[in-house]
């Protein structure tokens, strides 16, 4: 075997499955992850898939992490190499001392292996073909067979897997049995032919607790259900399509009138993103809660409508599941690269509210809240998800809903109020918060109607091209944006164990990698206070946080340090104080990367005089 001693770990390793897409491996791999979870051990799986439907390489990575480190880690301790196309790359990516698991049916020349890893061959094709004849069955059951073998090698409780299979095929007795059979085919072969277990093992634990395992897109969609969204218009685009799919599924279960069977929602697949956002704006204008889900190219196409939302003050929600840009970019890779495109979306002077959930639980909460914010602020709210939390299952705290919660429909003038003689000026700042009253169409036979336009009008929505009237309105919109600062989710601060002059700002899906990086950095002797930004515009505590530290790192998953730009620009902060830490190759950011980049910078700091540090 290898000179290098094998990596030894209980409940803390990374295993990666290299497959071909369309081969049915996804469900077997997910079963693998879930079975560990059921053993009480936290896992964090990630799907790395190509932008096509069938035949190209795809990977499924599972980080098994007793300590609950849910960020990507980097490196692979065990590779399940099922794709000859990517064999070389896959073998190369294994950590020294790691394991290679492969289908040994056909002999593979020795040169294709490595000296410093442990190689485990299982004749998967042979086992499969000796049992199954149907080609599709062969393809599917081979996956279950390797799962069985792995359960033996890693000491995963087969009962747990059986139970999961049982849940999956509740009503399909036959499929259930044949899957269990395949599982044991693999397991038995391994137990009989290999030294089981290896030095990577799973041991029952209690670390999962009451946490749930969910995709961010599904959580956001559920948030929209709870938040009272009734109209969803969307256009398919990776990685956001599953938001609409999930909204449809949730609504089918939760939103039909029990008596009539009728739907308390309307979902329209638009002919494009312009139609989708147009439908959302029309519905919101007319008093329904409406949203769309899209990704970068869609956001680009929606720009004109986003400006209309800003200026005509129409509530609306866009869930932007970010992928690598620019242009078509890498549709199946993750980034946080639309921060500027959303914050300042549309031509002219505009600013928009952004929410940055860190995980599915927050995606649920913020999604529900986004409708309150949209209606309160009468403007566009962007829920900034990304592929990493949107399309991957992530362990998170259980979702909660306060039974007594009412929706904040914002300032809506009713027929009664109009009859009471309330002065209605659609763009009148009655309360000094920049937020005017609106009326729903059809409210009152003779009062409160107005003509909505994206163009020149006065406080009473009457047409006006007067410069002073225009400037007055633009200033009010700024006031409204200031009001937003205190309504959106506040940043969360966590201080280092020791007082420190250094801070770090981060947001969204970077969260778990950041938490883990802090631990690594602390071990390296670097202490940092943390601020997780959860929304734009920034609460005043962001500026204070920067003011309280000599340097603040801003960790982002984009090239151009987009959030940092916003902080500088909106809070008047000297950019030299904000050090960008940027990860933008389309893979999820890792603790190793963050700790490395910040650690190096901190080390340098000790030798470089303050002035020379280039941001």
């Amino acid at each position: 075997m290898s000179v290098q001693s094998p990596i030894s770990s209980v409940n803390d390793f990374v295993i990666r499955f290299a497959n071909v897409n369309g081969s049915g491996s996804a469900s077997a791999n997910e079963l693998f992850a879930r079975s560990i979870l059921r053993m009480g051990v936290p896992v964090s799986p990630r799907n790395i898939f190509p932008s096509n439907i069938q035949g190209l390489p795809t990977w499924y990575e599972v980080r098994v992490t007793e300590d609950g480190h849910l960020g990507a880690r980097g490196g692979v301790d065990m590779m399940v190499a099922m794709n000859p196309q990517t064999w070389d790359r896959d073998v190369a990516s294994i950590e020294p001392g790691g394991y290679l698991f492969y289908d040994s049916t056909k002999p593979i020349p020795a040169s294709k292996f490595r000296e410093d890893i442990t190689v485990i061959g299982v004749p998967l094709t042979a086992i499969t073909n000796s049992t199954y004849t149907d080609p599709r069955q062969r393809q599917l059951f081979k996956n279950i067979i390797y799962l069985g073998a792995l359960s033996a090698l890693l000491e995963i409780d087969p009962k747990v897997i059986e139970q999961l299979i049982g849940e999956q095929y509740k009503t399909k007795e036959k499929l259930l049995a044949s899957n269990v059979h395949a599982l044991h085919l693999g397991r038995d072969w391994a137990l009989q032919n290999l030294k089981c277990p290896i030095t990577l093992t799973v041991k029952k634990s209690e670390k999962v607790g009451d946490r749930i395992f969910m995709e961010g897109n599904s959580a956001a969609a559920l948030g929209a259900v709870y938040g009272g969204a009734t109209v969803c218009a969307w256009y398919p685009i990776t990685p956001s399509s599953s938001v609409a799919d999930a909204f449809t599924a949730h609504c089918k279960k939760l939103r039909h009138d029990p008596e009539t069977g009728k739907a308390k929602y309307a979902i329209v697949q638009g002919e494009d993103e312009l139609a989708s956002i147009g439908i959302v704006i029309g519905a919101s204008w007319n008093g329904a809660r409406a949203f769309t889900a899209t990704s970068g190219p869609g956001v680009s196409l929606m720009q004109e409508f986003i400006g209309l939302s800003y200026f005509a003050e129409i509530p609306a929600v866009i869930m932007n599941v970010q992928r690598a840009g620019p242009s078509t970019g890498m549709p199946t890779r993750t980034q946080q690269c639309d921060v500027i495109a959303c914050a300042y979306a549309s031509h002219g002077d505009t600013k928009h509210v952004l929410l940055f959930p860190e995980d599915p639980a927050e995606a649920f909460e913020f999604a529900a809240q986004s409708f309150d914010l949209a209606e309160r602020l009468q403007t566009m709210i962007f829920l900034m998800l990304d592929l990493d939390i949107g399309m991957n299952h992530r362990l998170c705290r259980p979702l909660k809903w306060d039974e007594s919660r009412e929706y904040d429909r914002g300032k809506v003038m009713t027929a009664e109020m109009l009859d009471d003689g309330r002065d209605f000026g659609r763009y009148l700042d009655v309360d000094g918060d920049g937020i005017p009253f609106r009326t729903y169409p059809g409210t009152h036979p003779s009062k409160g109607s107005f003509f909505t336009r994206g163009t020149s009008r006065d406080r009473y929505a009457r047409y006006s091209e007067d410069g002073a009237v225009y400037a007055d309105n633009m200033q009010r919109l700024l006031r409204k944006f200031e009001t937003a600062q205190d309504l959106v989710p506040r940043p969360l601060q966590a201080n280092a164990q020791k007082p420190t002059k250094y801070g770090v700002i981060y947001y969204g899906s970077t969260s778990p990698a950041m938490d883990e990086a802090i631990e690594i950095l602390e071990k390296r002797g670097h202490h940092l206070d943390r601020l997780r930004i959860r929304a734009f515009p920034f609460h005043s505590s962001v500026a204070s946080f920067v003011a309280d530290h000599d340097f603040v790192y801003v960790v982002e998953q984009n090239r151009d340090a987009q959030l940092r730009s916003l902080i500088v620009n909106e809070n008047g902060i000297d950019p030299v104080r904000l050090v960008p830490i940027l990860h933008y190759d389309g893979t999820p950011i890792t603790a190793r990367f963050i700790a490395g980049a910040i650690g190096d910078h901190q080390d340098q700091l000790k030798v470089t005089p303050l002035k020379k540090v280039k941001s």
Binding site: S284, N286, A288, A290, W401, E403, G454
Partner: protein, 351 residues
């Protein structure tokens, strides 16, 4: 356009409709369009139709894109909410509005640039979906507001005011609407109120996507010789297939029609459309025949007007989506939020 403010005073003797409203109650702001603009006549017809139908004025939502035509919703139904949205996107905004509240009447007003050029996609798809609306294109063959460029409905070979000949094939929105499954398709002329008013009434009473193409000459940029959208041209080439009477009440049809000359169509809400045929062979229920008829006459340079097709059994987007009867915008947290018990179940299923 005149800058004298419209007097608020209403003459007590003004005729009232069933709801007690006068025509004045259906008017809006004073038009800022050019004196003589065809669009202003359409505005007048809309006012007349709504008055005649005894619609509650505030129960209409008026939605438009951008253009001279799209400005007009400010000039009628002053007690209704209006939305002068963005160029070419009226259909999607209207679709959304309609989904939010199925109880209002939706009037979409657009221009030919708005609907046939930039908005051709939205035009098509809103019709395919069967959105319950009256979709009026005020068709002058040019971009009025941006000063007279050809739009996509300008006929091939027709001349601009500056003397340029249009080389591109024209889009006939009526033909396309028929092709795309609109359940009510009509064409009229802004100069022909007798034809247009009942047509708008019928469209409003129609359930589903009702499309009316109204040729509406642009006085400023497209009313010259060589144009096929000028007052003169349309008057000379107008070929009306039928004349419409809309009967809303329960009373029997009293007007005397010569036998065989009238086709009566009953719409969903009981409204009856009495169609006096001007072309004896024309059948408003035959989509295919309508398309063929249109093509043939278009080839001869004729502008076919009238109610060209109607499907009395039409359904709308709400039917297709099976939405609840209550307007979605009236549902509150108690109707919409599944509650914490349901959430606990969901949590449990995710472990």
């Amino acid at each position: 356009m005149t800058y004298i403010a419209k007097p608020k005073f209403q003459h007590p003797g003004l005729p009232k409709n069933d709801l007690g409203y006068t025509r004045r109650d259906y008017e809006g702001k004073i038009s800022t369009l050019c004196a003589g603009c065809g669009h202003d006549s359409i505005t007048a017809s809309i006012i007349e139709a709504c008055f005649h139908l005894s619609i509650e004025p505030h129960r209409v939502a008026k939605i438009s894109g951008i253009g001279c035509s799209s400005k007009t919703p400010d000039y009628f139904l002053g007690n209704s909410h209006g939305f002068n949205s963005v160029h070419g996107r009226m259909p999607s905004v209207l679709t959304g509005a309609n989904l939010a509240n199925r109880d209002l009447i939706y009037l979409g007003v657009s221009g030919d640039g708005d609907s046939a050029s930039i908005g051709f996609g939205q035009f098509a798809h809103s019709i395919r979906r069967g959105v319950n609306m009256t979709y009026i294109v005020e068709n002058n063959g040019v971009y009025g507001l941006t000063k007279g460029q050809f739009s996509a409905t300008a006929d091939r070979g027709s001349k601009s005011k500056k003397g340029v000949t249009n080389a591109d094939s024209a889009i006939d929105l009526v033909a396309i609407a028929l092709q795309l499954g609109a359940t009510f398709v009509a064409r009229s002329f802004s100069g022909d109120k007798t034809q247009l008013v009942p047509m708008i009434e019928a469209a409003i009473k129609h359930k589903g996507a009702a499309f009316i193409d109204v040729i509406s000459p642009c006085i400023a940029f497209n009313n010259h010789a060589g144009s096929t959208k000028s007052f003169d041209y349309v008057r000379e080439h107008n070929d009306a297939v039928n004349r419409l009477d809309v009967i809303t009440g329960r009373e029997p049809i009293t007007v005397d029609y010569a036998p065989g000359t009238v086709q009566v169509v009953e719409q969903h809400d009981g409204t009856r459309l009495a169609l006096r045929k001007l072309d004896a062979d024309y059948d408003v229920h035959d989509r295919l025949a309508a398309m063929t008829f249109l093509q043939k006459h278009a080839a001869k340079g004729q502008v076919v007007t009238g109610l060209l097709y109607v499907d009395a059994e039409s359904e709308d987007l709400h039917d297709r989506l099976n939405t609840v009867d209550a307007p979605l915008n009236t549902l509150a947290a108690k109707d919409l939020s599944p509650g914490s018990a349901a959430l606990d179940k969901i949590n449990a299923s995710l472990r």
